[in-house]
Symmetry: none
Subunit: 396 residues, 2 copies
């Protein structure tokens, strides 16, 4: 498709409500989205094409990484973002091509070096921060180390050095009673990385000796960021991302979007960022986190309210007169399941050139009857680009 | 998907009405399924997701083997069950990994050895059985021979010996006036098999010399069973099959299901087998043959009645409180066509986590409006497993 991309003076907005898809409280009832009072989304739905997106494959529940890659137009089975990389992105660390990352735990081992607590009693985040600064004092010749505290005992480990590869075994045996494992290179290209990480762990042990209950670390999910064609290369789009959480900012950065600074931490602040930067980009990804948060908490009403908040702000987006608007999600998070799920995700696509379905509601059942049908999430971007008149004819 | 499978205490039932999909007697009328009075299926449909399955590919009419492989979750274009193997499965022969099978005909040749009747005047099945016992007296050094009578002039030929391969030409030239062909190995690995089978045919000719009208045999469709990952390996399921006909029992055995013994030969006996074994398995495949039989006979009303019989028994299945229920077919067999057909097959999927479509009828047109849409039959198992909470999240 890449060679069919043409330039146009059109703007696309992709509004992603994380974990949007839901389920009714009782079989046969309304989902969160169907329950929410959404006059603005409903009005937009009436002049849009509706459908349901499948992020990865039928029956497969996507993590946030695969869910976002898919809606951004990248096959999530082809491009994997490893656990360690997701952890680093989650704390907004700007991972580069020389960075090897892992998910880290502060833990407790006994005098024989055997793990007694994989989470060191879930130490406070303040102690975590202190220990992280301490570990960053370790010097490995030829490498830089970053320890980014997450919550309680968890941190993101990043080692920066040219030529580090990520085909490495975990040090975390995922159980107590045995010693942390040394990192092993699982292919020859990763031997330098294994040597460097093991060197770091040795220094760590000495440095943490008197920091009870913490006296050791565990690392798992070693990963570098995959290298993806950027939105500029793939779609010819000068794209911007508006998101409050690091993980989504990170995935957006990965596909070459410019991550905009949001002043404040409300959804309204995100919309203000959209308004302020409207003239400078031709694609905007705007991420809404709360829908997923409430879904995962099992809070049906909370998710309904989060959707209603989006509805209230939608007129500000439409006032900018975007040429194409996508409203959808990266996956479903039904509050009755308290987790991500496999259910196809409601989606609407508005443009002046759409064949409007005339369905007067934005909801799961309405989307079932939409003209886009149930389609792979990766199909959305090509359809949006076409509606933005940014794809030329294929063949003579 | 295999590495995302998790264990759960949930049960799935797959109720397959063979050749379920149909056509109206007159364009615009009701199909067999739409004509049938099915209050129980309709009530289940109302709280299910509906759709239409495509077993092989659009426009392709599947045989029973590919139709079943597809609904079981195996790509029928990747895994082929050869003609000879289907014949052996059809008589409930327990084909093993050392077994080479073929479809056989008793035939008549003239004094020059040229075929005059490929079916030897369609001899009675009793004569067939007698001759089959006779042919089993032939001894081939290093191999065992099984001749399983089918109907009239047809039999299944099975040769058991390690290292037999099935890339062999037919002996049946499919026309009269020329002699049966010797079997030829079409790859070097199949030379042993060719030698053994030709040896067998030579002995056959002598043994049948005075059995007029039969004095020769024809073999075609040499095949071994493909080796497939089992339901345990692929889905983590302890699966059982309930079917009266050998072919379906055989395909189920091929994918590692335990084939249950049905006492009696009615559909009610099949449901009784389900009830008796309910505690011992977490997946049940229950096969209904009559729908296809009447479809192939062109008996519209007979097929309607067969569907109504299933509907009457359905409450016994639901009383077991399965977590997930699939009701569908392996292919269509419209009675107006008197044969299998390419038409997508009606399907319903019930679980507590389904987004119910609220369609109040189980029929071809209702399924067209279902939220599962028209989908490859191979997608059904992943969706069923997801609904049984047996697939974990993909990616972080």
């Amino acid at each position: 498709m890449q060679n069919l991309i043409i330039h146009a003076q059109t703007k696309i907005v992709m509004l992603i409500m994380d974990g949007l898809g839901g389920l009714p409280r009782q079989p046969g009832g309304n989902t969160e989205l169907e329950t929410a009072h959404t006059p603005n989304l409903d009005a937009l739905a009436e002049c849009s094409s509706l459908g349901l997106t499948i992020p990865v494959a039928p029956g497969i529940t996507p993590g946030s990484g695969p869910g976002h890659l898919a809606i951004f137009g990248y096959d999530p089975l082809q491009h994997e973002i490893g656990r360690g990389a997701m952890e680093a992105l989650g704390v907004d660390f700007d991972l580069g091509p020389d960075d090897l990352s892992a998910r880290g735990n502060f833990c407790t081992v006994d005098t024989d070096g055997r793990i007694t607590d994989r989470r060191a009693g879930r130490i406070g985040t303040d102690i975590n921060q202190e220990l992280a600064r301490l570990l960053e004092t370790i010097r490995i010749e030829g490498a830089e180390i970053f320890i980014e505290p997450v919550k309680e005992h968890r941190f993101a480990f990043i080692m920066r050095s040219p030529g580090l590869q990520d085909v490495l075994s975990d040090t975390d045996p995922q159980k107590t009673g045995i010693a942390p494992l040394p990192v092993q290179a699982l292919d020859p290209g990763s031997e330098k990385a294994a040597r460097f990480v093991n060197q770091f762990i040795t220094s760590t042990r000495k440095l943490l000796a008197d920091k009870h209950p913490v006296n050791m670390i565990l690392l798992r999910g070693f990963a570098k960021l995959p290298i993806l064609p950027t939105y500029q290369e793939k779609y010819g789009l000068n794209a911007a991302a508006i998101a409050l959480n690091g993980m989504y900012r990170g995935v957006a950065r990965l596909v070459g979007m410019q991550v905009l600074n949001v002043e404040g931490n409300t959804l309204s602040d995100e919309f203000l960022t959209l308004e302020k930067n409207w003239g400078d980009f031709d694609f905007f990804y705007l991420h809404v986190k709360k829908t997923d948060t409430f879904g995962e908490l099992g809070d049906f009403d909370g998710k309904v309210n989060a959707i209603e908040e989006v509805d209230t702000l939608l007129p500000r987006l439409l006032a900018l007169k975007p040429d194409v608007v996508i409203v959808g999600g990266d996956h479903s998070s039904p509050s009755v399941l308290k987790s991500h799920s496999w259910h196809p995700v409601p989606m609407l696509l508005y443009s002046p050139y759409i064949r409007a379905d005339g369905l007067v509601e934005f909801g799961e059942r309405a989307c079932t009857h939409g003209s886009l049908g149930t389609l792979p999430a990766t199909h959305i971007m090509p359809i949006a680009l076409a509606n933005a008149l940014r794809i030329t004819k294929y063949g003579a």
